[in-house]
Symmetry: C2
Subunit: 278 residues, 2 copies
């Protein structure tokens, strides 16, 4: 039994996203709990998730969790806001290992951060429609007013690399205007791509609005969870293969390019799998 | 034997796209050959195709053609530029019914239209990288110079509904500037979404540049093909069920909304299927 517990301790964490965005969450996990190994899956063949239905997001997420299980993961992080909002609740009871998403940690910290009780959430259409951020924020701060705004052009703009472009500033102005008008003091960046637009978002929202990045809070929650369950990696077992493994459903070169621009080390090998077989 | 030929005549045409864009092609077929029935499939669960790899586009397209065969289609139209550019050549020899794409008809008419021999092609990244437009244009007009430009933000802008928005004009200016500088007199709208931006494109390119819409030419080529093969629908057999059928891989409401804004009749029923099972 002790041997099995030791093995679990050294098992990797499964992290998945619809594509590359979840790498911002993986990066935060690597920074906060550097002894943990990660198996990352990016669903680059079916990206994006943000405009798709709940049934489809659940089906895709279930396949991905099955795949990650074949890699012997000890826990799963849904590093995609849309999948966290639409699929996590369904998948949780199906699993015998811990699974966490990015919405709850992000919502919690927003509920704790706000002073005037007015919180904005920017995310994909499907995440906003799910109302999950609103629900979780209110469960922690019943008086909070939550203003959601879908920003479907942000992901394509980030992927085009126009992070500080005048076009992006104009689009952001357009999307954020109704949120500014509400007088929010806290804004949740509810899609993993959005922290890459932090500069532009900060410029428009001004000094008085706190930007919440759920990636940071998710890594912190994961750390606590592993400690509570007694399955934290103590870093005592030498790692023979790669510390982290990367899998994708489409061999887009973009993945590696993006990964190398985001992560503090080079990603040499990305393995292609047929995710619909899982 | 004659009975079989008669049956084939009244069989529908399969038309597919990564999502809603191919409806612009379906609309053109309905206009030019109104007696033909259409079975349309939009791969809304895996849209977009434009940034994905050839292997993935071939796998997805093969599944879709298998699905359309189960509906007894007599011919297939690949109403997606990316799938036409990346998958058509592979699928053609696998089939015993005619299959045509949108690239060859569009390229042919561009080669015939140009006076100064300078042609621009705007399309998705994958279509531009495939160089298929250049190859087909040159096979018809060996002296032609072809200038390709990927415009990845056009589809998201169309789907956001910002057809004549200042942001869209600015993005179009940015993308078209290098093409304007080359002195092209013909511009192929090499993605089915782009004809919806025709006004903006025309405004930027000016009177002297002819915009080519491959959808129009594709419907014309389909008409000729059906006549040559002797399988045109003569409209003599009463249609008992719906004239046209619509299938999607994700039940996005967007599909019906978009379809209703594009087609000259209301689309009431859109059936959801699991395309990965084909």
């Amino acid at each position: 039994m002790e041997i099995i517990m030791k093995d679990i301790k050294y098992a990797p964490i499964g992290v998945f996203d619809s594509g590359v965005g979840g790498l911002t969450v993986a990066r935060e996990i690597m920074r906060q709990i550097p002894d943990e190994r990660i198996v990352y899956f990016g669903d680059t063949a079916r990206v994006p998730y943000g405009s798709k239905s709940q049934d489809t997001i659940i089906r895709f997420s279930r396949q991905i969790v099955h795949f990650l299980r074949t890699k012997g993961v000890k826990a799963v992080v849904v590093a995609c806001n849309t999948a966290s909002a639409l699929a996590l609740e369904t998948l949780q009871p199906e699993l015998d290992i811990p699974i966490i998403g990015v919405v709850t940690p992000g919502a919690k910290v927003a509920a704790e951060t706000t002073v005037n009780g007015k919180i904005g959430v920017i995310a994909t259409e499907s995440t906003i429609e799910s109302q999950l951020y609103t629900k979780v924020i209110r469960s922690h701060n019943p008086r909070a007013q939550v203003f959601g705004k879908a920003c479907p052009l942000f992901c394509p703009l980030v992927e085009e690399g126009w992070l500080k472009d005048p076009v992006t500033v104009e689009v952001a102005n357009r999307y954020l205007e109704p949120l500014l008008a509400t007088g929010i003091d806290t804004l949740v960046m509810g899609c993993t791509h959005y922290p890459l637009l932090r500069g532009t978002l900060h410029q428009i929202m001004g000094e008085k609005v706190t930007l919440v990045n759920p990636a940071y809070e998710t890594a912190r929650e994961l750390k606590c969870l592993l400690e509570e369950e007694g399955i934290s990696n103590d870093g005592m077992k030498p790692v023979k293969e790669n510390m982290h493994q990367f899998y994708v459903s489409d061999a887009a070169n973009k993945f590696r390019q993006f990964a190398n621009s985001i992560l503090p080390f080079g990603v040499d090998t990305t393995q292609l799998i047929h995710i619909e077989d899982y």
